[in-house]
Amino acid sequence: MKLDAKVPSGPLADKWTTYQDHLKLVSVKNKRKFSVIVVGTGLAGASAAASLSEMGYKVKAFCYQDSARRAHSIAAQGGINASKNYPNDGDSDFRLYYDTIKGGDFRSREANVYRLAQVSSNIIDQCVAQGVPFAREYGGLLANRSFGGALVSRTFYARGQTGQQLLLGAYSALMKEVGRGGVELHSRVDMQDLVVVDGKARGIVTRDMVTGEIKTWAADAVLLCTGGYVNVFYLSTNAKGCNATAAWRAHRRGAGFANPCYTQIHPTCIPQSGDYQSKLTLMSESLRNDGRIWVPKKQGETRAAVDIPENERDYYLERIYPAYGNLAPRDISSRAAKRMCDEGRGVGPTGRGVYLDFAEAINNFGEDVIRDRYGNLFEMYERITGEDPYKVPMRIYPAPHYSMGGLWVDYNLMSTIDGLFVLGEANFSDHGANRLGASALMQGLADGYFVIPYTLSAYLATVDQKAVSESDAEFKDTAQEVKSRIDGLLKVNGSRSVDSFHRELGNILIDKCGMSRSEEGLKEAIGKIGQLREQFHQDVRVLGEGTNLNQELEKAARVSDFFELGELMCYDALERRESCGAHLREEFQTEEGEAVRNDAEFAHAAVWEFTGDVSKPQLNKEPLTFETVKLATRSYK
């Protein structure tokens, strides 16, 4: 596998403009002759599909939900970063770039991150023009807040539903283009495979989720904008339908998968309450500004929180990280919570939870002030748990939230398969080993509105490829493979439900390949996952037919891919013999339990190649070089 990042030459700040100035263009007349498939209608997909259609390309867009507006981007709460520097507090492209690359623990590609910062301001302009109702000051100008520990206020937001408002903006642009006839939109359609002809991505195979029809679609290029994969853990903050199938199938056809073990576990989520739990709900990180985190000093404590006296409580973040205290970064806080629960000091019915206590803040500022700051979050907490956080401390626990890993792409967002581009959370590019808050929305829209319109044009202007059609052998063969796979799942007729397998896989992964990993644990996980995967294919029970709406069948196909991805995550974690970003390798930590990064051996993206055998993936490396920043150790003590 050849990994050429194709980063343009020249000084970091000039790379993108130089690239734009010299890129080959497709003439207006010729654009109509090119067709592009866009899979996914989240921030990345909707913005790409709309922009490409406006330029004149023929676009076909796909999503598995009933409406493009329901893509998982809709659920983002906090906000979106941009280097506008409206508050005049010293922000700049360079500062946004630097914060992002440092936040990622120096495991992302410099040139991509710099470009992201450069286009961030355009995103805000575009969204406002579309009618996105960002929060405003009384003077009528846009409001900002600070987020994720940044020293400047660069986050734009819309009432705790920034994702919905940004997506409605991108969706409205998409609807405009559908209405105009530039985009053909197919909802309730599940991509099941990628069609590769002469080494180039030329189409996809889909299953119609209402009729079960297997169909093929040909095009000149394929864009995957299919989101993240942390649902591999079963319990996560992602929507139930989020899946890895599109990316995984592309990987099996030759696309390198980069850093699969890089997943982010968010510290403040509502803990699991029982075995029936279907997903985890994120509580905004802002709560840590006023809440104090603690566990009982005694193991196996049975008293209620309010009955435990002050001197028998361990405010462990304040104790271990006196400088940052309860505001320690996501990865540090998450790991510490896990350690407390592993020591048997966790709280709540399952013992996997820590207290987030507002008693002192209420005492100091009064209940009204706290209500004003967090009223809707407290309400949501009470709606879900039935407990009133004004009276008893909240219980929180870390939950899988975001995947930094994904399909490897070069500077042009093209994967290792020519003509296959990957945008948004589905690619690996900009967040290294740890993503900062409010930067995923920025990346999705940067990729879709401002990067791909250029880089795809450059590709189409120069590519030399023959015409293909759905009746070609490659299309028919791939469709046949999809049919066999689906028939295979229906035929097993075993004894266990898809969910029961998925839960078991999730438990193995969160335990052995979650926040902290060890060589021993990972090897054990690899063995277990392999066995469970075999059992799945021999004993899963998928009722009903393939020829109508069958939600169990949809899940089964996804879980079967999660099994393979889960195993790869473990190989990747095993290979990375260092602690960095969101991941602690137990063998590589200081005596106090802090991460020890190893830049000499691991300043690279680990890019995995499918060899035909799921259990024998091939590792390739893209070395990461840094021209403008010095690799520093992150310390929060």
């Binding site: 409205s172 642009a173 609807m175």
Partner: protein, 256 residues
């Protein structure tokens, strides 16, 4: 917690469908309503019966996918709460719960509790956008917008497009949805140039999709999980009237 569930089962678009009764003995008050259905489905699978199909995705009250009528009320008994955020502690031991899909001419049933809401997307395609191309936007602070105006637009923009308003309306009208969508854009200066065209086009498409007309029952507002106000319907009616009086006008200039 023991429950008797009466659930609408329908194989596909053409099947007449009907209510079926199930006993569930192991629900508990901490479950969400959808988790309760997950548990029922696991039991059905164990017995070899096909599970109940229902729509859901985010399970956080924001994507608008979940769509159940519970004991005759869209999204169930708790106001301003989608069914995915409704928990079983609002039901009681031994209760009989009837679960049906959205029912409206504009929303044909696809299977069990899942309906086809693509009509909403077609209404949006007709006019639910501001016609601006990528890259052609002025600086975001070039047009200051008074905070009250922007907040009001945001109130309308909170609509999650679930369709509860249609399911709640005795006439099966989609006016609350269309009004929320049109008002969000019509209130903002960026949306003014196309205001009249937008109102006309969206209302026309709504009628073409077979939704009923609005006769002010206000059930839509009562059952809307986001509490969207029916005042937006009055606003859309005004925008539509003006658009009909001056069919050539863009509409923006005539506003005070």
């Amino acid at each position: 917690m023991r429950l008797t569930l009466r659930i609408w089962r329908q194989k596909d678009r053409n099947d007449p469908g009907g209510l079926q009764t199930y006993q569930l003995d192991d629900a508990n008050e901490h479950m969400s309503f959808l988790e309760m259905l997950d548990v029922l489905n696991q039991h059905l699978i164990e017995k070899g019966d096909e599970p109940v199909a229902f729509e859901h995705d985010c399970r956080e009250g924001i994507c608008g996918a979940c769509s159940l009528v519970i004991n005759g009320v869209a999204h169930g008994p708790l106001s301003k709460t989608t069914v995915c955020q409704l928990h079983m502690r609002f039901f009681h031991e031994g209760q009989t719960i009837t679960i049906e899909p959205w029912r409206a001419k504009g929303f044909p049933v696809l299977r069990d509790l899942i309906v086809d809401r693509s009509s909403f997307d077609r209404i949006m395609q007709a006019g639910g956008f501001i016609d601006v191309r990528t890259g052609a936007a002025p600086d975001a602070n070039a047009i200051p917008i008074a905070k009250p105006t922007s907040d009001l637009a945001m109130d309308a923009a909170e609509c999650i497009g679930c369709g509860a308003c249609v399911a709640a309306c005795p006439n099966g009208s989609a006016m609350l949805f269309v009004a929320a969508k049109a008002s969000h854009l019509n209130l903002l200066p960026q949306g003014l140039p196309e205001k009249a065209r937008r109102a006309r086009a969206m209302v026309k498409q709504m009628e073409a999709e077979g939704f009923g007309s609005c006769t002010n029952f206000a059930e839509c507002e009562a059952q809307c999980p986001k509490g969207i106000s029916i005042n937006f319907i009055a606003k859309l009616n005004r925008d539509f009237m003006k658009a009909s009086l001056f069919p050539q006008g863009g509409g923006g200039k005539r506003e005070a």
